[in-house]
Symmetry: C2
Subunit: 395 residues, 2 copies
């Protein structure tokens, strides 16, 4: 967009601006995704990605209230490092750390870490469960009052309140204890976004927040009910599992202005890039298809191991439900990546959010602003006052 | 010390205060060591350690000039993660990142990462060389002008200026390229502190800074000459390899006041803890020795794999040179950990530093303030003005 700084991603002032606007607007948290490779679009649309733990650590120093949720993969990092980094982020932020747990699915990521291919989906989730269980044990290896720090006696830590972990899982081992005190909130908030069978089971047992791609209300309600039922089956209070669909807001003073902003945004989409991105998402070479014909059937099975199964299902679902051609699906991908797209005034966007909250489709939203920081500020200016008026923002 | 906050280590304001005082004083860099386990002293003197990359990332946001040198081990982290994190720290700090490369030597660290014991010294250094070479290739996988970011054409990156790495080492493999642009300074500053044969060879070939434990001028000169000769042999300009012995400054307005501060500091040392710490450093159970007898011979050979060889050599060297009993050596360990101890007025401490610089024993110093932030401020107040007057500080 003309308003964007195309070099912003490596610059700290950009991230500080985003975080401080989000905090001032009253957002609960800032969430940063990740991928451990150059993102392959068409060649000239490769894109870079900063390490979320570095960015969030820096933002801890210049924010005071907002949650800081960093993505990290369980497939390439040892749980001792993961548990320690998130514990440290929780300490320096005063209990504001969150971990978005991913298993990575991209073959390019595997090759960056010396593997020839990603382990299959089931094995990735088995490893994730093992790694997170090890992290939970490490965070729990210190009692909250293990640090005595008594200057008179000279006693710093109480060894009786710090325990070895001796985690011996199928994938990872760690002796422990952690070398960092128990995090201020006991552990970071855990977020997860897998919507496959394995992903749902994992999230129902361990996550605080589930990020999910949902573009239709009925599907979102079904997902919500399924996840809450799984939480109950896992012996949890379902209110402990917070379901947060993504929403892509295009907010303006009038509906016409919002539509014009969406049209302007879409006008910058490059077909080559969309084809490459869609091909990556669906693990299918879309360039060989007739763009003006419907999406072929059977893509979910073709996608197999190397794609995010939930993303494939959502995109195929949108295409089938709305009877979209490949080209039309790519346009949807450009503006909303398959997420709920809400275009309009603050009241109109708040209506959609309220409908989903009331209908049992969401406990909250992952607000995915298409242009940063502009669309955060628009959300703050147009949508937040309406949500606040209606009592829909946290106190 | 009475002035200390014994709970400071997990609190961000403490680190910010240290960094801002050091920056204001004119230090070139801030260096944070690390160990990947609870530090085993006597049981009640266990100590915790925050992740240096988290701390340094936070400090990048609240400092503007000072270098940020974080320790990270090559034994438990993949080079893709290491290269990416330090590249990101370099970006967000505007080219101020440094990496103190360690191989880890403690068996407790190995067990936290699922190993039964540390690989032997030679293998650890072979892996370090492999990992650092992979990082150098990853940092070099982007040309400085690979990011075009042209809003008119829509071209973001130039794929012709970003290359695969295909590093296939004996220990680590990575395909690359890195998913972060070339760091502002090309790569972070590399520091290393190994003083064994393998450590010296490694540092001479790859490091910008060598941290070293030297308590005597003659030994320091010999080390300095040896390292510069090795740099030449490695085909480098010896001035590219900066030798920085540690110096522990106790600065005050008068010599008497400085001596009194040292005595007060030593009065808080706990014999049990010193014995445990000395036992860890020397990989020998000192509690079984006669504390008032000389240190037994042959300790270097006994220490073997699980200790830092350079630390053993320095401590044994001090004991032999100064004919210290075990108890006296432990007292030296308390106040200076074997490093050059400089106690006195600003001019007296500056004299020692100038002597070492002039005598070809140091290119600069790793100033190891015993009490933070107090001794940074004392160094700033008493020593820096004298160094500045003598033209010994960087411009």
């Amino acid at each position: 967009m003309p308003e964007s700084d195309p070099r912003a991603v490596t610059k700290l002032p950009f991230w500080v601006d985003v975080a401080q606007r989000a905090e001032a607007a009253g957002f609960d948290g800032l969430f940063l995704g990740d991928v451990l490779t150059l993102q392959a679009g068409a060649d000239k649309h490769l894109s870079d990605a900063m390490d979320p733990i570095v960015i969030m650590s820096a933002l801890a120093a210049v924010t005071s209230r907002i949650g800081l949720i960093a993505t990290a993969s369980t497939s390439f990092d040892h749980p001792f490092h993961l548990a320690r980094r998130f514990a440290c982020l929780d300490h320096i932020s005063g209990g504001r750390a969150g971990w978005n747990i991913v298993t990575s699915s991209n073959a390019l990521e595997a090759r960056n870490f010396g593997l020839d291919a990603m382990p299959d989906h089931a094995e990735r989730y088995a490893r994730a469960a093992d790694a997170v269980d090890a992290c939970l044990a490490l965070w729990d290896s210190w009692d909250a009052d293990a640090k005595i720090a008594d200057q008179q006696s000279g006693q710093y830590l109480d060894p009786a309140k710090i325990r070895r972990v001796d985690h011996q899982g199928p994938y990872v081992r760690t002796a422990g204890p952690l070398n960092v005190p128990r995090p201020p909130k006991g552990r970071p908030v855990l977020a997860q976004a897998g919507s496959s069978e394995a992903g749902r089971a994992f999230a129902a047992a361990r996550a605080d927040i589930v990020f999910t791609v949902q573009s239709g209300l009925a599907e979102a309600q079904a997902f919500y009910r399924d996840m809450k039922a799984r939480a109950v089956q896992a012996g949890r209070n379902p209110s402990e599992l917070c379901i947060m669909p993504g929403i892509v807001p295009i907010a303006a003073a009038t509906k016409d202005e919002a539509e014009a902003r969406l049209a302007e945004l879409n006008s910058f989409a490059v077909l080559d890039h969309l084809i490459a991105k869609g091909s990556e998402f669906l693990a299918t070479d879309l360039s060989k298809l007739d763009l003006d014909a419907p999406l072929p059937r059977g893509l979910i099975d073709q996608a197999g191991n190397q794609a995010s199964q939930s993303r494939v299902a959502v995109l195929v679902g949108i295409a089938e439900r709305e009877k979209l051609t490949v080209r039309q699906l790519l346009a949807r991908l450009a503006s909303g990546r398959g997420h709920l797209l809400a275009v309009g005034t603050g009241a109109e966007i708040a209506d959609v959010m309220e409908e989903w909250l009331d209908a049992g489709a969401a406990d909250g939203f992952n607000v995915m602003c298409p242009v940063l920081p502009g669309d955060i500020q628009r959300f703050a200016d147009y949508v937040m006052p309406v949500l606040r008026e209606r009592g829909l923002t946290p106190s």
